[in-house]
Each structure stands twice: as structure tokens, then as C-alpha cells.
């Protein structure tokens, strides 16, 4: 860790040419990053106006991960939303030259002192604020859905997609990951993919920025029930806004184990809040397609993690937790979404 801190300090000194005595201290890895290695650290340096101290986050590409993503898109999405009604930490530096820290990375502000755990949100002191958190969670998603990608500048960094191609493009992508990574036949998953192809969704009512992993566990909240930051934009893309809504409704995120979406409120409430905030409609048929799709995408992610672990590319135990605990639940969620749960 000391060597990494030293190299990181060298890099930041290079990015802050007017600073002196750049130091990185208290560098520690944060558990749970499934697509990036995430570290927190304190940056100290001197500049003309005095001493500076900042708490920052380093997000570095790992050797292998649950998902393959473009860190440039993630960084630019943070940059696009920073300072808007969608709360995100300030992104600072993106570096794609792997010679600095062995892998590409970016650095952003740390939002300190808040909770992200999807389990903690179901317990005191947070549980009493479930409705308040839900109101913000799906309102913020509505803001993301309503935002104009062109105004945000994200149409220049994210791949364009036609409204009637959103579903098929995503399905094609995740199916290709399944084809590549599955280590055993997946009859339920394959049946879901065929169902999706037989029942294509209506064209997207709007091309939106899609967060790609918008769920409980990927935002920071405080003890008063206020959401302080939306994180983990590594799968952000342009697409159908219903994709994000459906992903958050996936039964595998029912952390309170009582049927509430995201461990917070009934699914109908979540949909109502999102519709109000986005000004868009969650057509039940289209939403159902995206909910089945979200199960396929989820299972693809769990299968890829299992493959990475088995292949020895990345042996973080979180990949096994995901594969073992989520895999079967995801199959059950497919049965539920297709009306095949006995």
C-alpha cells in the first residue's frame, strides 16, 4: 500500500504542477467494489495560498471484475452531473495511461461520513426514514431520466442508440457476456432471453442517460434519511429510462426481505415517484420487458464474476458471494417475472 501511495502522490504532483510537497496518507482499500478497486485516501499539499488537505477516492481498474466498463464514460458522467440536482462527488482526474498505477484510474472527491450499505438501510436509525429515502431515490432517478444527454454533453462520450434499438442492443451485449462466461448450461436464463426476443418492448419514449446500476447500495445516505451522493456509474450509457427503473425493482435488491423495492417502499410507490419526477410514463408492458431484462443482465454479471474467480483472474471473495447467493435468486426472479413461479 505504501508503494501505491507513493506512486499516487507522484501522479497527483504531476497533475498539480503549482503545488509542492504532495503527500498521500491513510490510503486504504474499500471493500465491495465489484468493477473497480476503490481506495480512500487523504491528499495533502502546499500551494501559494497555504496548506490543502482533501479526502479523496481512487477508482482503479482491476485485473478482472464483475463487469467490463469504460472508466472514461464513468468519469465523464460524474462530471456531467456534478453541480446539478443529481448529487455526485466531484470528479478530479482521469488517467488512462496504465504506467502510473499499473491500470487506468480516476480520482474523485470522497463524500465522507455517510452510509451506503443495503443492509444498514433496513435497520435503525435509517429504517425509520425508508419512505423519505425512497422519495429521493426515485425522484433523483427521475431527474436522471428527464435530463437531456446533449445538454449534459454525454451524447459525445456515450454510444448513440435509436429509440427502437435500446432493448435489443442491451440484450445483445449481455447475451454475448453470457455466451462467453457461462460455465454450465442456464436453462432458465436462456428461456428468458428467448422470451425477450419474442416480446420486444415498445421504442423508448425518450433516449436518456441510464445509470446502469441504480439500486440501493449504490447511493450514500445519512442518519436523517437524506441521500448525499449517487455512485457507481460504471455502466452508464444512453438508452431507455425504463431500464434503470426496472433494475431498481429487481427482486434481488429486496434487502428487507419483505417485498419492498430496494428494501424501501412497495413497487407501485417507487414507480409513481419516478413517473412524477421524470414526467415519463412507466408503460406496464414495456416495464415488464425491462424487468425480465434486468434479471438477464443480473445473471450475466453473476456468471461473469464466477468465471473471473474460477479462472484466477480476480479472486476477491465478493465475486463468490455474488455468484453463490445471487445466481439462484436471480433465476427465481426470472421465474417470478415470467409468471412461472409456482
Amino acid at each position: 500500500m505504501a508503494e501505491l501511495a507513493e506512486r499516487l502522490a507522484r501522479y497527483i504532483a504531476h497533475r498539480l504542477p503549482d503545488s509542492a510537497d504532495v503527500r498521500v496518507r491513510s490510503l486504504e482499500r474499500i471493500f465491495g467494489g465489484a468493477s473497480r478497486e476503490t481506495y480512500r485516501f487523504v491528499l495533502e499539499y502546499s500551494e501559494a495560498t497555504g496548506e490543502v488537505e482533501r479526502s479523496l477516492i481512487l477508482r482503479r481498474d482491476p485485473p478482472g471484475s464483475l463487469i467490463e466498463t469504460e472508466r472514461a464514460i464513468e468519469f465523464n458522467t460524474y462530471r456531467a452531473f456534478y453541480g446539478t440536482s443529481v448529487p455526485v462527488p466531484e470528479p478530479l482526474w482521469l488517467e488512462e495511461d496504465a504506467s502510473w498505477l499499473d491500470h487506468p484510474f480516476f480520482v474523485m472527491e470522497e463524500l465522507k461520513g455517510f452510509e451506503a450499505s443495503p443492509q444498514a438501510i433496513t435497520l435503525p436509525p435509517y429504517a425509520q426514514h425508508a419512505e423519505l429515502i425512497a422519495e429521493q431515490k426515485w425522484s433523483i432517478l427521475g431527474e436522471i431520466s428527464r435530463a437531456d444527454p446533449a445538454v449534459l454533453g454525454l451524447d459525445r462520450v456515450m454510444e448513440s442508440v435509436a429509440p427502437d434499438e435500446c432493448g435489443e442492443r442491451e440484450l445483445r451485449y449481455w447475451e454475448s457476456r453470457i455466451d462467453r462466461d457461462e460455465m454450465a448450461p442456464q436453462p432458465i436464463l436462456r428461456a428468458a432471453i428467448r422470451w425477450l426476443r419474442r416480446n420486444p418492448p415498445a421504442p423508448a419514449q425518450k433516449r436518456s442517460v441510464v445509470h446502469g446500476d441504480y439500486r440501493t447500495g449504490n447511493f450514500l445516505y445519512d442518519a436523517g434519511g437524506t441521500i448525499r451522493g449517487i455512485l457507481d456509474w460504471e455502466m452508464a450509457h444512453l438508452g431507455d429510462p425504463l431500464e434503470d427503473l426496472a433494475w431498481g425493482l429487481n427482486p434481488i435488491w429486496r434487502f428487507a426481505r419483505d417485498g419492498r423495492a430496494g428494501g424501501l417502499v412497495p413497487r407501485e410507490d417507487a414507480i409513481r415517484i419516478w413517473e412524477r419526477a421524470s414526467g415519463l410514463r412507466a408503460d406496464p408492458e414495456a416495464l415488464r420487458w425491462w424487468e425480465v431484462f434486468s434479471c438477464v443482465k443480473g445473471q450475466s454479471i453473476w456468471l461473469s464474476g464466477a468465471h473471473e474467480f474460477a479462472a484466477g483472474v480476480n479472486q476477491d471473495p465478493i465475486l463468490v458471494i455474488a455468484a453463490w447467493l445471487m445466481g439462484n435468486s436471480q433465476d427465481r426472479a426470472i421465474l417470478d417475472a415470467l409468471g412461472r413461479m409456482p
Binding site: R29, G32, I188, D316, W324, M326, R332, L335, R340, P342
Partner: protein, 148 residues
Amino acid sequence: MTPDLGRFLEVASAHLLQRSAPALEAGYEQSSVMTLAILLGVAREEVDRAAARRFEENKALRDFFRKWERVIGNAELRSRIVAASGGSDPSLRVPDLEENNAMLRALLIEMHVEVEQQQGDEARACEDALWHELALSTERRRLSLGPF
């Protein structure tokens, strides 16, 4: 082997959770050790049933193929289904059972595709029975810590 594997995994999990993890500073390593403890607990749940659930499922799939092979129109697929329905597991070793399970589930996918394309009540009845078997397959694999 005594104490048995399940008991060992229980003790190892508890040791990591109650002794090793608290001795570490809060952070990545502590969380990793706690995750490993949970995984040992999950492994303990699986180890008891690993052979039994595969043996049961392989038998259920062969029974299913025997019962429904008549609805398969594709002669080549039907002959493979019939051959598989008459097979057996060479041993109760988990890798052997798993290899057969993968072969049978791959055939089930092919059969599912075929049946979905057919019209008629019998095809629908077969499809319903196939989905029922798939639902049972998730029950056999269900873990107490699974979120859904």
C-alpha cells in the same frame, strides 16, 4: 472423516467471524475475512446436499425426458433425448454428477426451444411441466442467505 466436514466448516466460519475478523482493523481485510466466513457457512449448507441434489435432479430430468420425448418432432433431438433418458450416473462423485447434470440441462434447453415452437395442447402441457421442473431446480439450489 470425523469431525465431519460440515462441522469443520461451521467452526472455521465462526472462528473467522468471531475471532479473526474482530482482531483486524476495520477496512478491506476485515470485510474480506467476514465475507470468507459467510462463504464457509454457505459451503456448509451446500456440502451436505451437493451429491444428493444433483443425483435427484439428474433422475428428475431423465424421468421428464422419458415422459415427454413423444412431443419432440425433431428426430435427431428426440433420439438424443431418448438416449439420455436411459442413462445413469457413473458414480456419486460430485464432478461426475455435475458433468451429467450439465449434459442433461443442455438437452433440456434444446427441448425447451423445440417445444416453444410447437402448437397444441400437448406442447403447452409439456412446456408447463418443463417450467415446473425448472422451478424445482431453483428449490434444490436455494440457499438460506439468498436474497430472493
